[in-house]
Symmetry: C2
C-alpha cells in the first residue's frame, strides 16, 4: 500500500508548530482553559487551526497523554474458544502494561468487520489485534490508518504491512497425518467448514494432502446444515472402502457433533477407523480419551500479539514479521 496516497490530517503538533507554542498550550486552548493564556496566544492558535483546517477529536485531545489506553481485539467469532482465549491472552499482557483490552466480534461478517474498524478509528483506539475473516483483507487494510499499531492473528496473509502471529497449521496437520500414515492409515476423510475461505483451513488441508493423497472431504456450512445427512454421508464414505481410514476434523466443533454418534454406533471401536483433528478445549479429549488431537495455544498467541503491539506502541523494532506458535499433538 502506498503511504503517500493517504491524505494526512493535521494534528495538534502541527497546530503547535505553526502557532509557535507548545502542544500543552494548544491542549489548554482546546480544553477551554484560557486562564494562563494571553489573547495573542489564543489568536495565534485560532489562526493556525483555521489555516490547517485542523479538526480536533478525541485523538488529538489524547495527544497530551499520547494514548487512549484502549486496545481493540477484533475476532471473527466469539463463540469459538480459540477467539476468547486469544483475547484473554492479549488482555493479560495489555492490562499489566496499563492498557484496557476491548473485544469486538465481527461475527464472521466482513461488513461488520469494516464497521468495527471504523469505530475503533473514530474512538482513537491505540492499537488493533485483528483476526480477519477472509484471506482477502485488502478492502479492510484501506480502512486501518497506516499509523495505527496493528497485529494480525491466525491468518496467513501473503502480503501484510503488519506483523502476523500464526499457528503452524500446515506443519502440525502434516506431522499428525504422518504419524497415522506410519501406523498404516492410507485414507483420510476430512470434516471441515468450507476450506477455501480462510488460510487456516486451507493450510491444514494442504498439510494432510502432502502426506496422504487419498483424501475425501465433507464440507459443512457453519450456519446451517442437516446433521443426519452429514452423518449419513460420513457413514457411506466409511463403508466405501476397507482401507484403514483416518477421520480428520479441521475444527473441534465437527468432532463434538459427530464423534459421539460414531461411538454410539460402535464405528470407531476398532483399529480400522481413527479420529483426530484440531481441538482447543478438552471436550473432544473427554469424549474420546484414547484419541490424540492437535491443540493450538490461543492464550499464548494472544500474549505474543500483545507483546508485538506494545513494541509498536513504544516504537521498538520488531524482529520477526511472522511469528509462529507451534500447535501440540497429544
Amino acid at each position: 500500500m502506498d503511504n503517500e496516497r493517504r491524505k494526512r490530517k493535521a494534528n495538534m503538533k502541527d497546530v503547535a508548530q505553526l502557532a509557535g507554542v507548545s502542544i500543552t498550550t494548544v491542549s489548554r486552548f482546546l480544553n477551554g482553559n484560557f486562564k494562563k493564556m494571553s489573547s495573542e496566544t489564543a489568536d495565534k492558535i485560532k489562526n493556525a487551526i483555521e489555516k490547517l483546517n485542523y479538526i480536533p477529536n478525541a485523538a488529538a485531545r489524547q495527544m497530551v497523554t499520547n494514548s487512549s489506553n484502549l486496545i481493540a481485539v477484533i475476532v471473527s467469532n466469539i463463540d469459538d474458544y480459540f477467539s476468547t482465549e486469544l483475547f484473554k491472552g492479549a488482555s493479560s499482557i495489555l492490562e499489566a502494561n496499563g492498557y484496557m483490552a476491548v473485544l469486538f466480534d465481527s461475527n464472521t461478517n466482513p461488513d461488520r468487520e469494516r464497521e468495527i474498524i471504523k469505530t475503533t478509528s473514530t474512538y482513537n483506539f491505540d492499537g488493533l489485534i485483528f483476526q480477519p475473516n477472509l484471506n482477502d483483507v485488502s478492502h479492510i487494510f484501506t480502512e486501518i490508518a497506516v499509523d495505527t499499531p496493528t497485529v494480525i492473528v491466525d491468518r496467513n496473509l501473503d502480503t501484510s504491512m503488519w506483523p502476523q502471529v500464526l499457528t503452524d497449521n500446515f506443519a502440525s496437520a502434516q506431522k499428525a497425518t504422518q504419524i497415522f500414515k506410519n501406523e498404516g492409515y492410507s485414507r483420510v476423510i476430512i470434516l471441515s467448514s468450507p476450506v477455501d475461505s480462510t488460510s487456516t483451513r486451507r493450510d491444514r488441508f494442504l498439510g494432510i494432502k502432502s502426506v496422504i493423497s487419498n483424501v475425501e472431504i465433507i464440507e459443512i456450512p457453519d450456519d446451517s446444515y442437516n446433521k443426519k445427512k452429514v452423518y449419513q454421508h460420513l457413514k457411506n464414505l466409511l463403508a466405501d472402502s476397507t482401507d484403514r481410514t483416518l477421520i480428520f476434523s479441521l475444527k473441534e466443533r465437527w468432532l463434538l457433533e459427530f464423534v459421539p454418534m460414531l461411538i454410539f454406533d460402535g464405528l470407531i471401536d476398532n483399529d480400522r477407523i481413527a479420529i483426530t483433528g484440531f481441538a482447543d478445549t478438552n471436550t473432544a479429549r473427554a469424549i474420546s480419551p484414547n484419541s490424540k488431537f492437535i491443540t493450538q495455544s490461543p492464550f499464548l498467541m494472544g500474549s505474543v500479539s500483545a507483546e508485538m503491539l506494545l513494541k509498536q506502541l513504544h516504537n521498538e523494532p520488531i524482529e520477526t514479521q511472522k511469528f509462529v506458535v507451534p500447535a501440540k499433538f497429544l
Copy 2:
C-alpha cells in the same frame, strides 16, 4: 442513591445558553471551525466556557448527536457460551438500532469489573448491559453513574435500581427435578462450582432441594481441581446407595468433564442413575443423546436486555423491573 449529591458538570448546552448561541455554533467553535463565526460570537463562547469552567470531552462533543453510539456489554467470562450468545443477542438488536455493542470480559474478577465500569464511564458509553460476578454488587453500583442506562442480566439482585433480565433458575431446576422424582429418583448428586457465590447457582440448588431433600453436593472450584479425585468422589457417592440417583450438574462444563467418564465406565447405562443439568450448547446432548437437559436462551436474553436498554435510551417507561426468560427442559 441521591442524584443531588452528584456534582453536575457544565455541558455544551449550558455554554450555548450562557453565550446566547446555538449548540451547533458551540460545536463549531470547539471543532476549530471559525469560518462562519464572527469574532464577537467566538468571544462570547470563549467567555462562557471560562465562566462555567466547562471541560469539553468526547461526551460533550457527542452532545450534538447526543450519543456515542457505543454500548458496553460486560460479561463475567467470555469462555462461557452463555456469555458470548448473550452478547450476540444484544448486539443484533443494538446494531439494528444504530448502536455498536462492545464486549468486555471481567474474567470473574471483581477488581477488573470495577476497572471496566470506570473505562466505560470515561469513554462515555451510552449504556451498559451487565452480567455481574457476585451477588453483592453494591460496591459496583457506586461506580455506575445513576443516569447511565443499564440492564442487569443473569443475576437476581434483591435490590437494584436497574431492570433485570433473568432465567427462571429456581423454577426450571424444580420442574426438572420433579420429573425425575415422578420416575422414582429419590436422591440427587449435584455437580457445581461453589454454590454461594452467585444467585444463579443458589437458585438452581434451592430449586432441586425444594423437590428432593436427599441431596449430596460436589463443589468444584472453577480455576483448579483434580479431575481424577472429583471423579472418584462422584463414584464413591454413587456406590454409597442403591437408591435411584440423579446426577444434576449446575453447569454444562461439569457434564462435559465427567459424563464421558461415566459412560466409559458403563455407569449410566441403566435406570438406576440418570444425568441432567444446565447445558446451553449441543455438546452435552451429543455426548448423551438419551438424556434431557435444561437449556437457557442467552441470545434471547441478550435481545431482551438490548430492548430494555433502548427504552431507557429513548426515555420510554419500562413495565417490568424483572423480566424472566424461561429455560427449556428437553
